[in-house]
C-alpha cells in the first residue's frame, strides 16, 4: 500500500503540474485584466485541434511549436474584438461573455472537426515508460513536466526581467497609474491576454497526447484550474502553481483510499482553504490584485 501511495504522490505532482499550466494562463489574464476567462478551455481545445490538423504536415514537434502560437493569435483577436469593449464594466460582463464564448468555441470545434473523438497520437518513443516498476513515468509525462517547468520559468523571467513583464506586474498592482505614466494599457492587456491563451494552447497540445481529443476536452480541465487558483491564492502566480500541484497530489492520494471521491476532494480542499485562509495559501490579504 505504501508503494501505491508513494507512486500516487509522484503521479499527482505530474498531473498537478499540468493543472498549474492551465491555471497560470487563467491567473495571468485575471490578474491584469480582471477577466475571469471561462473560454480558456475552449482555447485549449482549439490549440489541440490545430495541432492535430498541423501534425500530418509538420509533425508533432512542429505542431507543438506552432499550434500554441496560432491559438495565441486567435486569443489576441478575441481580446481585441470581444473583451476590450467590456473593460471598465463590472467583471460579470466579461464573465458572461467568456462563458458564451466557451460554448461558441466548443461548437466551432464540433462543427469543424466533428463530435467524434479524434486519434491524436504522439511519437511512440515518448510513450515508453522509463522503467518497468515506475511505469507511470513515461517519456511523455516527464517531457510534459519539463515543458511545464520551462513555461513557468519563461513566464517568471518575462514577468520579472523584461519591460513587458514589469509593466504587466505594475499594471496588476495599479493599472490607472501605469496608464498615466504613458504605458499603452490597451496593448499591454492585449499581449497579456495573448500570453495567457498561449499557455492554454500549449496545455491543449499536451492534453491531447494523454486524453481523447474531443470538443469538450477543455471543459473537463477548466474547473481544476479554477480550484488551483483559489487554493493557491487569487493574484499570486506562485500560489497558482502550488495550488495545481496540491490538488494533483490530493486527488492521487484520495484514489488510494476513497477512489470515488477523487474529483470531489479538490472541492473539499477549496472549501477548507476558503474557511481557514480565505485569501488562499499564497494570496495577499485584502485587495487581491
Amino acid at each position: 500500500m505504501s508503494q501505491v501511495l508513494l507512486f500516487n504522490v509522484f503521479n499527482g505532482l505530474i498531473v498537478g503540474a499540468f493543472y498549474a499550466l492551465m491555471a497560470l494562463g487563467l491567473s495571468l489574464i485575471l490578474n491584469l485584466s480582471g477577466v475571469i476567462n471561462f473560454a480558456h478551455g475552449g482555447f485549449l481545445a482549439l490549440g489541440a485541434y490545430l495541432a492535430y490538423t498541423l501534425m500530418p504536415h509538420i509533425g508533432f514537434w512542429g505542431a507543438l511549436l506552432v499550434a500554441p502560437i496560432l491559438t495565441a493569435i486567435l486569443g489576441l483577436i478575441a481580446e481585441r474584438l470581444l473583451i476590450r469593449p467590456l473593460y471598465g464594466r463590472d467583471p460579470l460582463y466579461s464573465l458572461l461573455l467568456t462563458f458564451g464564448l466557451a460554448y461558441v468555441l466548443e461548437d466551432v470545434s464540433r462543427y469543424i472537426w466533428g463530435a467524434q473523438s479524434l486519434p491524436f497520437a504522439i511519437p511512440s518513443w515518448l510513450t515508453t515508460p522509463l522503467s518497468s516498476q515506475f511505469f507511470f513515468l513515461t517519456g511523455y509525462r516527464i517531457f510534459m513536466v519539463l515543458l511545464v517547468g520551462l513555461a513557468v520559468a519563461g513566464l517568471f523571467i518575462i514577468l520579472n526581467k523584461t519591460r513587458l513583464g514589469m509593466r504587466i506586474r505594475a499594471g496588476t498592482l495599479d493599472l490607472e497609474t501605469v496608464s498615466v505614466l504613458g504605458v499603452n494599457v490597451r496593448i499591454l492587456r492585449n499581449l497579456n491576454f495573448g500570453l495567457g491563451i498561449y499557455l492554454a494552447g500549449l496545455a491543449g497540445v499536451l492534453a491531447a497526447g494523454m486524453l481523447g481529443l474531443q470538443p469538450t476536452i477543455g471543459t473537463s480541465l477548466i474547473m481544476p484550474s479554477f480550484v488551483a487558483i483559489i487554493v493557491g491564492g487569487l493574484g499570486s502566480l506562485p500560489g497558482t502553481l502550488l495550488g495545481g500541484l496540491l490538488i494533483g497530489v490530493a486527488s492521487g492520494v484520495t484514489t488510494v483510499y476513497f477512489p470515488s471521491a477523487t474529483e470531489a476532494v479538490m472541492y473539499v480542499m477549496m472549501g477548507l482553504v476558503l474557511l481557514v485562509r480565505p485569501r488562499g495559501l499564497l494570496g495577499e490579504e485584502g485587495r487581491v490584485q
Binding site: 498531473v15 486519434p119 494523454m210 486524453l211 481529443l213 474531443q214 494570496g283
Partner: protein, 419 residues
C-alpha cells in the same frame, strides 16, 4: 464628477461568478427539426453535449434515417412523421426530465426516444410512464430499465448490462484470465455492469482482486491504473464508456500496462475505438451491433445510407436510434392506434423485420419485460481491419438471440398493466 469603476475581481466576486458559471452549465442548447403539417411527432431526448455527445449524436442520426424511411412508406397511420430532438446533456437527470416533459407537453410528441446515459434513461422512463406515452430506450443499459423498474410502456433496444456480461464473461476468462480488477463508472450503468460481470464471471471461477468507481467525465486515470496494476490482476476490466474509455485506454497503453496485464472489458463501441490511437485498440469486448456483416440482408443498404449522410460507417448507436424509431412506427401501425396501451400490447413478443433488425436471426421484444433480445458480437479490437479504416473490431463469436438473455424471472421485471 467622475465615478471610479473598480475593475478588481475580488475573491468573493470571483467565487460567486464561478458558482454562477457552474450553475449555467446545467442549461444546454436545443435543436428542433423542420415541422410538417399535423405530423406524428417522435421526441428524442439524448446526449448531444458532454462525454456522450458523439454516441448520442449517432443515435439521433439513426433515428432520423428511420423517420426518412417511414415518411417514404406512408409514415405512421398515414400521417407524416417528424423527429424532434433535444439535448439531455450527458449526465444531468434534471435537464433530461425537463426536456422529456417539454417534448411531450409542449411539442406534442407521441413517442419518446433516448438516452445514452442509464440514469437519464430511468428518469425519462418515469416521465413517459406518468404521461402514458410509449418510450423506446435507445442506449441506456442498466438492468432496471426493463428490470426492477420496468413499465408497460417502456421498451428497450440496447442490451441489459447482464446480457452483455453473460455474453462476454466466458471470452474474458478464456482470453485474459480469472483475476479481474474493475475500473467502473460511478453511476447506474457501471454499477449494474460490474455486478453483472461478477455474477456471470463468478459462475466461471472469476476472482475479483479489486475495483474502483470513477466519476463520469474523469480525465486522468493514471492514479486508478497505478492502483489496479499493484493489485496483480490478470486483466483490468475497463467498464467506463465514451470519452472516459478513450482516456483510460490511452493512458493505460502509454504506461505499457498491456504488456503486463490484459486490458479488456465488456461493452465496446466503434466511437471510442475510432478516437483511440491504433496501438490502443486492443482487448476483448462485446459489440451490440457491428456494421461489417457481409452476408446479412439489408445491412449494406443501411451502411450506405448512413455513410452518405455522415461519411462514416454506422455504429451500434446509429442502429439503436434507427431500430428505436422504427419500433414506434411498427408498434403504432400494428396496433392501428397511437394509444400507448394498445401499442404496448401490440409490441409484446413483436419480431423486428429484417430491414430493421439488420442481423442474423430474429430479434424480438420479450413479452412481460419489453426488452429486445438480439444477437451480440464478442471479439477483440484491432488497429485496422480488412474492411477499411473503420473496421476496428474482429468478431470471434456471434452470441445468438436468446443465448445470453437470461430468463424473464432473472430480469426482476414485474410488469404492471393499467386496468
Amino acid at each position: 464628477m467622475t465615478t471610479k469603476v473598480d475593475l478588481s475581481p475580488t475573491r468573493r466576486r470571483f467565487i460567486k461568478a464561478a458558482a454562477a458559471g457552474a450553475a449555467l452549465q446545467m442549461t444546454g442548447p436545443f435543436i428542433i427539426s423542420a415541422r410538417g403539417e399535423q405530423p406524428v411527432k417522435i421526441g428524442m431526448d439524448d446526449c448531444l453535449t458532454g462525454t456522450y455527445a458523439a454516441v448520442g449524436k449517432n443515435e439521433t442520426i439513426g433515428a432520423q434515417l428511420a423517420v426518412d424511411q417511414m415518411n417514404k412508406k406512408g409514415g405512421i397511420l398515414g400521417r407524416p412523421v417528424e423527429l424532434v430532438i433535444e439535448d439531455s446533456t450527458s449526465g444531468d437527470a434534471g435537464t433530461a426530465v425537463q426536456k422529456a416533459r417539454k417534448l411531450i407537453d409542449r411539442d406534442g410528441c407521441e413517442f419518446l426516444l433516448g438516452n445514452v446515459n442509464s440514469a437519464l434513461t430511468l428518469a425519462m422512463a418515469d416521465v413517459a410512464y406518468e404521461k402514458k406515452k410509449i418510450m423506446v430506450a435507445t442506449g441506456g443499459h442498466t438492468d432496471a430499465v426493463t428490470g426492477a423498474k420496468c413499465h408497460y410502456n417502456v421498451f428497450r433496444i440496447c442490451n441489459t448490462t447482464q446480457m452483455e456480461a453473460n455474453a462476454v464473461a466466458p471470452a474474458l476468462i478464456k482470453n485474459a484470465g480469472k483475476k479481474w480488477y474493475f475500473i467502473t463508472p460511478d453511476y447506474a450503468f457501471g454499477h449494474t455492469l460490474q455486478s453483472g460481470l461478477e455474477k456471470a464471471g463468478g459462475k466461471l471461477g472469476m476472482q475479483k482482486v479489486g475495483g474502483d468507481l470513477t466519476p463520469l467525465g474523469t480525465t486522468d486515470f493514471s492514479s486508478y491504473l497505478i492502483k489496479a496494476q499493484a493489485a496483480g490482476p490478470d486483466v483490468i476490466v475497463i467498464l467506463v464508456q465514451g470519452d472516459d474509455m478513450i482516456n483510460c485506454l490511452k493512458q493505460a497503453v502509454q504506461f505499457g500496462l498491456e504488456k503486463k496485464v490484459h486490458l479488456a472489458g465488456a461493452q465496446q463501441e466503434l466511437e471510442p475505438l475510432m478516437g483511440l490511437p491504433p496501438d490502443a485498440r486492443i482487448g476483448t469486448w462485446v459489440f451490440e451491433w457491428y456494421w461489417n456483416q457481409p452476408n446479412v440482408p439489408h445491412v449494406k443498404e443501411f451502411n450506405d445510407a448512413i455513410k452518405a449522410k455522415t461519411g462514416h460507417m454506422p455504429t451500434a448507436r446509429t442502429w439503436f436510434g434507427f431500430a428505436a424509431a422504427h419500433a414506434c412506427a411498427l408498434g403504432a401501425n400494428h396496433a392501428k392506434s397511437l394509444d400507448a396501451l394498445k401499442i404496448a400490447k401490440a409490441l409484446q413478443n413483436f419480431k423486428l423485420p429484417p430491414e430493421v433488425a439488420l442481423m442474423p436471426g430474429v430479434p424480438y421484444f420479450r413479452a412481460g419485460q419489453n426488452q429486445l433480445i438480439p444477437n451480440q458480437w464478442v471479439g477483440h479490437a484491432i488497429a485496422k481491419g480488412p474492411g477499411g479504416p473503420e473496421d476496428l473490431f474482429h468478431v470471434d463469436e456471434v452470441v445468438k438471440v436468446g443465448e445470453a438473455a437470461g430468463t424473464l424471472e432473472e430480469s426482476e421485471c414485474k410488469m404492471q398493466w393499467p386496468a
